[in-house]
């Protein structure tokens, strides 16, 4: 992922010039990349930067509205909501990055094999993907976590599994249309094995649309993981995580203590929004014809 600030330093050669043009043309994309950097800083350095210990309780100071010492107020045990929200970034991003990475790798492998060799592998894969898609995906994730056991790793596996069909189908389609393309046949003729042609000549062509999919999927994976922990799966309190923070705050919203739920929810929303905007922006960079 390119940092937004170093883009103007690039030499305006082909791809760089296009990138520059898209960013200048579309300030929203620039915004989304800066917001992404904002979240990355929180994920890497959040624990060092926050003013309070996210787990330190202080019952004398419970449920205080936002002020200068506690920017986002305090929760029912007197913990600082701001620190908890910022520290939670790392866990939420880790869950979704790992989940998306797993589905990216497995989906690519399955899709490439099915798209290149076709035949019964393709037919079987399609049946399996259809069956996975026949479940409401969030419900399937619930079922998987319930069956495998209630841990963070299983949240990651469940989120990865329900995302695999999207990648596998995308790669399958991209590989399939290029299977007989001139450059692929040329690569075969000059002595490359099937595997080498597939991996180094055909598959890289599927990467640009995959990157768009990754970005859009990241937002969805975050929502999914937060939703699972909102209903009490995966992350255990007192670990700070956005879904759980919103769930804890939900108990106090009807008595008017809005800050406990609002800020983690806002952060969650901003993170998802960032990835969705980035996906749209990446699509512009990758494919200028499909500008939205």
């Amino acid at each position: 992922m390119t940092d937004a600030t170093d883009i103007p330093d690039r030499k305006p050669d082909g791809a760089g010039a296009h990138l520059l043009h898209v960013l200048r043309e579309n300030p929203v994309t620039l915004l989304s990349f800066s917001m992404f950097a904002f979240f990355l800083v929180q994920a890497f350095f959040g624990a060092m930067l926050v003013p309070h210990d996210p787990l330190a309780t202080n019952s004398a100071n419970a449920l205080q509205p936002p002020d200068w010492t506690h920017w986002f107020g305090t929760d029912n045990l007197g913990r600082d909501v701001f620190s908890r929200v910022v520290v939670a970034t790392r866990l939420d991003l880790t869950i979704s990055v790992l989940a998306v990475a797993i589905s990216f790798v497995i989906g690519s492998l399955l899709g490439a094999v099915a798209g290149y060799w076709g035949g019964w592998i393709d037919a079987v894969l399609n049946r399996i993907l259809d069956t996975i898609m026949a479940f409401p995906l969030f419900v399937l994730a619930m079922g998987i976590v319930a069956a495998l056991g209630n841990t963070i790793e299983n949240i990651i596996y469940a989120t990865a599994l329900i995302n695999i069909p999207f990648y596998a189908r995308l790669v399958r389609a991209e590989v399939n249309i290029r299977r007989e393309a001139g450059f692929a046949l040329a690569a075969r003729l000059s002595g490359n094995s099937h595997l080498r042609t597939l991996a180094f000549h055909i598959f890289p062509n599927a990467l640009p649309p995959m990157m768009v999919q990754v970005s859009l999927n990241m937002g969805w994976a975050i929502l999914n993981a937060a939703g699972l922990s909102f209903i009490g799966l995966g992350v255990r309190p007192p670990t700070p995580e956005w879904g759980i923070l919103v769930a804890e705050g939900a108990n106090y919203i009807i008595s008017g203590h809005w800050w406990v739920a609002l800020f983690p929810g806002l952060w969650l929303m901003l993170a998802v929004f960032t990835f969705n905007l980035m996906g749209d922006g990446l699509r512009d960079i990758v494919d200028p014809r499909r500008r939205t």
């Binding site: 069956t131 419900v139 939703g227 969705n276």
Partner: protein
């Protein structure tokens, strides 16, 4: 007409492998994963002896293939096992609570279609106007909203600040009595009982969760309507219709929208997948006594049979909904034959 009947038959036949696949996955989730299912099914409080009893009762000492057929036979008889927390058969529990979920889901879909389709049409007709921009903002923001968070925000604003909404606890305020159960849909049942007061109370209670779910589904429907409408309006038959001097309304709605609706109906299938998932979260926020909150309670209590029954029921519901969409699609559009796929 015979061709259409055949097409419907083929579509019905295509459902069979999908349902089989769903049953296999649900079997894998229930029995074949690492860990001892008997321990799960016996519940958190079970001792060694009752675990052994459960193991024999479920046939878990048999080979895996035999287990699958036992499991399948149970399903065909409608036996999803017994819930540990309620003591009832899971199927009975689900049937009791399904109308609450369906009432919520369907009202949300009706509300969101009623807003999203006109919005999408307007955005396509007045491309680049403020309606189009509004549509774009709604679409991007809509997919970023965590449903449980929107629900909580709405509760804060409309219950705590404004006092317009009743307390977010269940389907009916406790001062009202449930209408006599006919369909299980309170809106229908209260009308059947000619009880307008209860009907009004039901609507007030239903409003916030419905809006929460509707906001979530607005985005995909509006986006698809806009895209489909744009495509329909740029096609040759619209130009012909305009050239033939048909009125603007006739061209837009008689020709444009009618053709644009087909892809929108297809999108509804995907929307259902999201809605059924989001339902679980919204039901938890609003303490809605549907099958979603049943599953959440079961998850917390490690009530294994109930969770697996819920997952299977949702999958079957989703497959059925998709089937209905596909069949209605064939009825709307005479060009569709299923053999072309």
């Amino acid at each position: 007409m015979a061709g259409r009947a055949r097409a419907i038959g083929i579509r019905l036949a295509q459902t069979v492998p999908v349902i089989l696949g769903v049953v296999v996955i649900s079997f894998i989730l229930t029995r074949a994963l690492p860990g001892d299912p008997a321990v799960y099914f016996a519940g958190a409080m079970a001792d060694e002896q009752s675990i052994q009893q459960v193991r024999e009762a479920l046939g878990l000492d048999q080979p895996l293939v035999t287990q699958f057929f036992l499991y399948f036979a149970d399903l065909v008889r409608g036996d999803l096992g017994r819930s540990i927390s309620t003591g009832q058969p899971v199927l009975t529990d689900l049937a009791m609570r399904l109308p609450a979920s369906l009432e919520l889901t369907l009202s949300a879909l009706i509300v969101s279609c009623a807003i999203a389709i006109p919005l999408g049409v307007l955005a396509a007709v007045r491309q680049g106007s403020w309606v189009d921009h509004l549509c774009r903002v709604l679409v991007t923001a809509g997919v970023s909203l965590p449903t449980f968070f929107t629900g909580i925000l709405l509760v804060y604003v409309f219950y705590y600040l404004l006092g317009w909404a009743p307390s977010p606890l269940g389907r009916l305020d406790f001062i009202y009595l449930e209408p006599p159960r006919v369909t299980g849909f309170y809106l229908v049942d209260s009308l059947l009982a000619r009880d307008l007061e209860t009907f009004g109370a039901t609507v007030r209670q239903l409003a916030l969760p419905t809006i929460t779910l509707a906001l979530f589904t607005l985005a995909p429907i509006a986006r698809m309507t806009r895209a489909a409408m744009l495509q329909a309006l740029s096609s040759d038959y619209i130009r012909t219709a305009r050239a033939a001097g048909l009125s603007r309304g006739k061209v837009l709605f008689g020709y444009g929208l009618r053709n644009a609706l087909l892809p929108v109906v297809t999108t509804l299938g995907m929307v259902f997948s999201f809605v059924l998932g989001a339902n679980v979260l919204v039901e938890k926020v609003f303490a809605w006594p549907g099958i979603g909150s049943y599953a959440v309670e079961a998850l917390v209590a490690s009530d294994y049979a109930a969770v697996q029954g819920f997952v299977l029921a949702m999958a079957l519901l989703f497959v059925t909904l998709n089937l209905i969409i596909d069949l209605s699609y064939a009825l709307i559009d005479p060009r569709i034959g299923f053999d072309t796929k």
